[in-house]
Amino acid sequence: TDEPSDTAAPEETAAAGEDPGAEGEEPEEETADGEFFVRADYDRQLAQRDVEPEGDPATPWLQAIEPEYVDTTEYAQDGNTLCFSNASVSNPWRVTGWITMQQQVEVLQQQGLIGEFRVSDAADDDNKQISDIQAFIDAGDCNAIIISPSTTATLTPAVEAACASGVPVIVFDRGVNTDCMVTFIHPIGGYAYGADGAEFLVENLEPGSTVLALRILPGVDVLENRWAAAQEIFADSELEILGDEFTGGDGAEIKNIVTQYLQRGEVDGIWMDAGDGAVAAVEAFEDTGNDYPVMVGEDELSFLRKWQETGMTAIAPVYSNFQWRTPILAATMIWAGEQVPSEWVLPQDPITEEDRDEFLERNADMPSLHYAKFGGEDLPGYPAAWQDR
């Protein structure tokens, strides 16, 4: 049952045009712009930012942008064992989401909609996640499998094997190169995220200003897409990109690098592919006695607080953390035979100076490594579950 098939043939995905395109698309679709830049996806994501999502804005995790609903009656069933293969909980964003997900599960368990919730965590090891998924398939008693893949391309065969087992499969966050799953849930995506920050820098900096790009790791598709989009936008601007540096997301490393750049010359803006350690970057300016840069952070509270405190010019792009609730809800919908979007694109709005204070106020009691748009305020565990992790 677990025979691998060749990864989705290029024609299929390419022909499907706008819908199955996820971040980290087939290499065949690659353009001259680089391995991680697919213009069609880029254009689509940028456009999706302006599309009004369907659904109630009060529950953004149930909203969908341009959904194409698929029929799920074939999966309707009474069984309610939910299996979740998690890539890891190795960073604060994932931890926040994971708590939200558990809270959501608890609610549904109390309602009797979900029975057992079985989780395996691959600790960022692709091979382990493949084994984990395999173990779910082999166990044979999962009524749905949720997968948060650790890497797009590498998990594809395993996801295909899961689909082939006949169980409804839900993929969220990072994608895979197949559309065999019932639904693929994700916020608009990396291009949009990267573009939000880059456009902000272009708008707020004088032509000729200098920008330093700080990145976490090379080779992670979600992150590479963000950078690809930023590069695309910077290329059309008159900003000077001083360099792009890998920091491992380590605050000390970030501060070292920024300090060294400041020591070499002026830095007017900072673009980051993820907000981890954004505060450390800002502090480097403070400690060396430089003016604050125009800053691209993330909706992590430490950054929002620093931003408010210093009053610098900044934006916090958001990679919607509330997406961790959606797959759970999707599973119950599928079991009930309700329609779900085949590609469930969730809204993803950056936090700007206007709504920053509102988010800060709402999350005033939350720890600093919490994400403002975590979307779990209505869950019964709020706020304690997120506060004392």
Binding site: V89, S90, N91, P92, R94, V95, T96, W98, I99, P218, G243, D244, E245, F246, G248, G249, D250, G251, A252, I254, K255, N256, I257, T259, Q260, Y261, Q263, R264, D276, G277, V279, A280, E283, D287, T288, G289, S302, P367, S368, L369, D388, R389
Partner: protein
Amino acid sequence: MTVTAPRPTPQRSAGSRAGDLLARVFGGGSATVFALLIVVFAAIFIVNPSFAEPPSLMAFLKQAAPLMILAIGQYFVIVSGEFDLSVGSLVGAQVVIAAALIDGEEGRTVPVILLMLGFGILVGLVNGLITTLLKVQSFITTLGMMLVLYGAIRLWTGGAPTGALSEAFRQPGRGGIDMAVVRQLPWALMILVGIVIIAVAVMRSSYGRTLVATGDNERAAGFSGVRVWRVRTLAFVISSVLATLAAILIGGYAGVTAQVGQGLEFTAITAVVLGGVVLGGGRGSVVAAMAGALTLEALFVLFNQLELPSTIRPAVQGVIIIAAVAYAARERARPRHHQEVPSQPQPNEA
């Protein structure tokens, strides 16, 4: 070398002592690191003369201090013939502990720092006692400790750090005394200097001598009355305590992030070896180990100044480390250093 006519061993003059010290610091495999350090600094100054300005140097030393402190701690363990792979995890754990327990409240700073020191001592004791009493190779002991700390801390905090550091906690790593010329004399630098002085003094004390002897030949040391288990365990405790101090500086310098400390153990060991300290114990000086750390940090700065693409930096770093260690190994095998020692009486006069 051997002569039959008796000749007394000469008394050591003060000058010969100084000579000995110089020889010990710069001799053997350690010369390489000082040469490399000078070359790297020269290169940085050429690429970017403004780096030589005092404020820049101070900023550099501030960021280099934690690794240098870690290297000093690692030196104690390595020279005694062991490894400490747990320091990276320990640094991470300590920062997370600090953030979680202080939780932004200034008043808790000092008690929490004391608690962290206690925790550091405990970790060192466990490492040391498992290695010496249970006879588990330290590579494995500290590898286990690395896993345990990594897991336990995340288990405790649910995966990502929680809480926040206080301003006071951040001072040692971030702040300093504002003054002319250097702009700011970092606390980190002063702490570093203090630690170096203490470390040099310790290495010259009876404890330091027995430590090196233990690393050189554990059996002979034991037969000479050295309590090998105690000496080694203390080395692990020193390493853990210094890792704790490094954690205080790193946490102070950059705040909490989930990744803090990751991979520092390898960097620290590399630094120590780069300093000409021999893995397996018994050879090398603490000053050279520290110089190894400084060189490594300077190398990172140089890469940045040269605008080397960041992806290629590990490769260059790898080449330089291998080359430097290979060169030092050759140097050690060469006669020069054993004869250059000043004030050595010439052999064979009869």
